[in-house]
């Protein structure tokens, strides 16, 4: 018998963990001599009280949905893909190459092609660590981290030596052709006459991200492949017994994971900067870890967690603008969320389980007192 009901497991425990993580974040803000309440007010004001703020919040949310899903899919196969950052970088390269390859006439044609390009490059970058894990037993955590560093060098080399337009000083590609510009929320909502700030980069990719959530849900819980990935993640020995190939699942799960991370580039590269720059990913690959952990690797959870981190990210940017708190605060919050929802999960879970057990025992005792008996287990 489970110690506590399902709702407590999926809602109560993560919620309490997040509250604790935020409490400690507040302490950190206090420790560097700032007022946490003011900080929260600034964050909310800057991210949730205007269409401008919401625009940025949802833009970041889109990034984190992709990387959160990427980490989640790997988690389901019991693999820890810390390489989302590098995969998203390479995904940017794929998107840029697609966008620069043709004078695209319209974004409806460019978007699917770019999506494919980004996903393909992200998947390829994940494929090498996946193969090394599946065939050579290399520790995937270490190899994916190494591949983040390598991705940085590769991109740096390509931007400086290959893609930089002549005469430019920036390590960045040329600006994409106008046909690749994705409609922003101001354009989309404008059709319905709803005003939305034109400044923030939130764009149609947000809906692609939501589709990706649905797609991952369908994959994991409604297809044979998802079933096999989950089975493998829970028990490799049982998977082998059932005839599920560990090599195949390791490869496929990491390819999907890398593809999702790479697909993020339609948002930040195609949707926002319209060219590929060095630091386009901005740590979104790493935030995906916190998002996946907090969202319990379920697409609905990932969506909600991504929204929260979108708010934090935009709020953090506002903070660094108006106060002395640097943007790195978001890294600290992210670390605390990972710590409390991931590593210290039992610290929250065990007392709650005990409370539910005690409540059940009391109920049983009361029922026994009334002369009712439960059938034996």
């Amino acid at each position: 018998m489970d110690a506590m009901p399902k709702w407590a497991d999926v809602l109560l425990v993560p919620l309490i963990s997040i509250v604790i993580a935020f409490f400690f974040s507040g302490l950190v803000i206090l420790a560097i001599g700032e007022n946490p309440i003011d900080a929260i007010r600034t964050m909310i004001q800057g991210s949730l009280t205007s269409s401008y703020g919401w625009g940025y919040t949802l833009y970041y949310t889109t990034n984190f949905i992709f990387t959160g899903l990427a980490v989640s899919v790997a988690f389901h196969a019991r693999m820890f893909n810390i390489g989302g950052e590098g995969q998203a970088m390479l995904g940017g390269l794929g998107v840029a190459m697609v966008c620069l390859a043709l004078p695209w006439p319209h974004w409806t044609l460019a978007l699917p092609a770019a999506l494919l390009g980004g996903a393909l490059f992200g998947a390829l970058w994940a494929a090498i660590p996946a193969y090394l894990q599946a065939a050579r037993g290399s520790h995937i955590v270490i190899t994916t981290i190494m591949f983040n560093f390598i991705a940085f060098s590769v991109l740096n080399y390509l931007l400086v030596n290959v893609f930089k337009p002549p005469g430019s000083m920036d390590p960045a590609t040329a600006v994409f052709p106008p046909g690749t510009a994705l409609p922003r929320f101001s354009d989309i909502l404008g059709v319905f006459g709803i005003p939305f700030s034109a400044a923030p980069p939130v764009n149609v990719s947000f809906f692609v991200a939501i589709l990706a959530c649905f797609g991952v849900w369908l994959l994991m819980w409604r297809t044979r492949l998802g079933y096999e990935i989950r089975a493998f993640g829970h028990s490799e020995s049982a998977a082998v017994y059932a005839g599920i190939s560990p090599f195949k699942i390791t490869m496929v799960a990491m390819l999907i994971s890398g593809a999702l991370a790479g697909a993020m580039a339609i948002n930040n590269v195609m949707g926002e900067s319209q060219r590929l720059v060095m630091n386009a990913v901005e740590g979104a690959g790493f935030i995906g870890i916190a998002v996946a952990l907090m969202g319990r690797s379920h697409p609905v959870g990932v969506f909600l967690a991504a929204l929260l981190f979108g708010f934090l990210y935009q709020g953090g940017a506002e903070l660094s603008l108006w106060t002395n708190i640097p943007r790195e605060l978001i890294v600290v919050i992210q670390a605390l969320v990972i710590l409390f929802t991931g590593a210290l999960d039992n610290m929250v879970r065990m007392p709650i389980e005990r409370a539910f057990l005690a409540a059940r025992r009391r109920r049983k005792a009361r029922e026994a007192g009334l002369g009712k008996t439960e059938p034996a287990e």
Binding site: S237, A238, L357
Partner: protein
């Protein structure tokens, strides 16, 4: 704990008071989460006796003794050692009170030597050298005194299981244990080794030591113990003198009703040849030869039982036939050769060829413990067309099918939305058995079908296996329980060290003969006792592996 070499193995200074019980437990209770493992248990064991504790799987025997050894902490209750109330919050305190325990799964560090394992936790001083030297000397004395010979410098993983058990006993004696608890000690031994263990226990008893023997084997209780306690569902149902009880009475006390100790089955009517195995070999990842040329055959409508001590290649035999590991040699199903090494040599292709497989370890292989019952009920068959609709899985169909299996196999609780870990051992096994049997396979591979299963489920599963045989399937049964092999099989093959030592008909053989075969002894050479022959063989095999 300071230990003086001169007193090791001899009665500790506080000599037991002969009138007080060596051990007395009063009102011990223990719950693991929602499961009540021990309910208000009281027991008294007099010094210098062998006391048996018998009960079904999950009755709470091991939990109770682990509490006495300080491995678990009781929720309630008191412990008295030699009449003195004693707190045992951890194993350190248990050791200090003169208690030693040999767990069912040995607690040895496998890549350490015997000596290192012996001194672990009772080293003298911060440096290892003097401790090791002293332990070497003490060990020699103990070995001579109790006939417990082991090479002090051997690494544990190179020792036979029987010798590993000796190390565990030596560990307890080195810590000057006066009370020795053994949890299912014979499960991993050949009958000859088990006999020798009981001689050692008798010897220890003569020395005045108190021994508690946990087992589920009625015969061991009848042969070896002075008194016996019976446990059922976490409760102590009776404590009696062994001389005043009978196996039938104990069985009834264990289960709470009369038990059929025999399986009703008609003589087999073997039909066409279904499974032919020739010269099958398996080499594992470490390069060790696990199967050394096994040949056997099973016809439709017969059960071939494979007997042997665990670890002699039975696992690999099932795994290679089930597609889990690769091997070389020839395996034919209905006369058709199957691929043993290729890319598609896996569980999925084997199922398509009509091989169903109830694995030895249901929690590690047969089930995904965190999956719902319905997700487990299609495991391995999830690519079957009836479970799928186009690209997507047809979860309603799978659940409907599961409901039917739950009803037919009387799986309780009858709820396909429970995860596997929420079922009892017996019901977990029924989920696996239902899944593998429901498709009337050509061949059923069954490993340890009743390990960790209650008697009710054992009877049910045995009946199902016989029914499947009668319906025309070929059954290959692997079990370490001799009783199970003898009562279910139509033919018996005995495995030792990766080979088949011989084949016998159940009516023409007995436990003694099978026991010798299990130790690889075909014929006992002249001038050598059976035990010596067995030991020599087992040592040689362990060194080689």
């Amino acid at each position: 704990m300071a230990l003086d070499a001169d007193t090791a193995g001899r009665p500790s200074p506080a000599a037991p008071d002969q009138t007080a019980p060596a051990i007395e437990l009063r009102g011990i209770s223990k719950a693991f989460g929602p499961v009540q493992a021990n309910k208000d248990i009281s027991i008294r064991v007099m010094p210098g006796t062998i006391h048996g504790i018998i009960g079904e799987n999950g009755a709470g025997k091991s939990t109770l003794m682990s509490i006495l050894y300080g491995f678990y902490k009781a929720d309630a209750g008191e412990i008295f050692i030699n009449g003195q109330k004693t707190e045992i919050p951890d194993s350190q305190s248990a050791i200090r009170s003169g208690i030693g325990m040999v767990f069912q799964h040995f607690k040895l560090v496998e890549n350490f030597t015997v000596l290192e394992n012996i001194i672990l936790g009772v080293e003298d001083g911060a440096m290892l050298r003097p401790s090791l030297a002293k332990a070497r000397k003490t060990l020699k004395d103990l070995a001579a005194e109790y006939e417990l010979n082991v090479d002090p410098d051997a690494v544990i993983e190179d020792l036979s299981v029987g010798h590993q058990q000796r190390v565990e006993i030596l560990k307890a004696l080195y810590r000057q244990a006066q009370i020795l608890i053994l949890d299912e000690p014979t499960g991993v031994l050949t009958p000859a080794e088990a006999d020798q263990l009981f001689r050692i226990l008798a010897r220890l008893k003569e020395e005045g030591k108190t021994i508690i023997l946990i087992t589920h084997k009625l015969r061991e209780i009848m042969d070896a113990t002075d008194t016996v306690s019976v446990m059922r569902r976490g409760e102590m149902t009776a404590t009696v003198k062994t001389s005043e009880t009978s196996p039938e009475q104990l069985a009834e006390l264990m289960v709470g009703r009369k038990v059929l100790l025999e399986i009703e089955k008609q003589p087999a009517a073997p039909g066409r040849m279904v499974l032919e195995v020739e010269n099958l070999q398996v080499i594992d990842d470490q390069g060790v030869e696990r199967l050394k040329g096994v040949s056997l055959h099973v016809r439709a409508g017969e059960i071939l039982g494979i007997s042997g001590v665990a670890g002699n290649g039975q696992t690999e035999l099932l795994e290679v036939l089930g597609g889990i590991t690769k091997g070389t040699g020839s395996v034919r199903i209905n006369g058709e050769e199957i691929d043993l090494t290729g890319k598609h040599s896996d569980g999925r292709t084997r199922r398509h060829r009509g091989i169903a497989h109830v694995p030895e370890d249901r929690q590690r292989e047969g089930l995904i413990m965190d999956f719902f019952a319905w997700e487990n009920a299609c495991f391995g068959y999830h690519d079957d067309p009836s479970y799928n609709r186009g690209m997507l899985t047809d979860n309603d169909a799978i659940r409907g099918d599961t409901e039917k299996k739950i009803e037919k196999f009387d799986i309780r609780p009858a709820n396909c939305w429970l995860t596997a870990k929420n079922f009892s051992g017996g019901n977990q096994q029924k989920i696996v058995v239902a899944r593998e049997m429901e498709r009337n396979p050509e061949i059923l591979l069954v490993g340890q079908p009743t390990r960790g299963v209650d008697i009710g489920a054992i009877e049910f599963i045995h009946k199902q296996i016989v029914a499947l045989r009668d319906a025309g399937s070929a059954v290959l049964l692997v079990s370490v329980e001799l009783d199970e092999i003898l009562s279910l099989s139509d033919r018996i093959a005995v495995m030792f060290d990766g080979r088949i030592m011989g084949e016998r008909l159940p009516v023409e053989t007995d436990e003694r003969e099978l026991g010798l075969l299990m130790a690889g002894v075909d014929k006992v050479p002249a001038g050598v006792s059976e035990v010596e022959a067995v030991e020599a063989n087992l040592d040689a095999a362990a060194r080689e592996g």
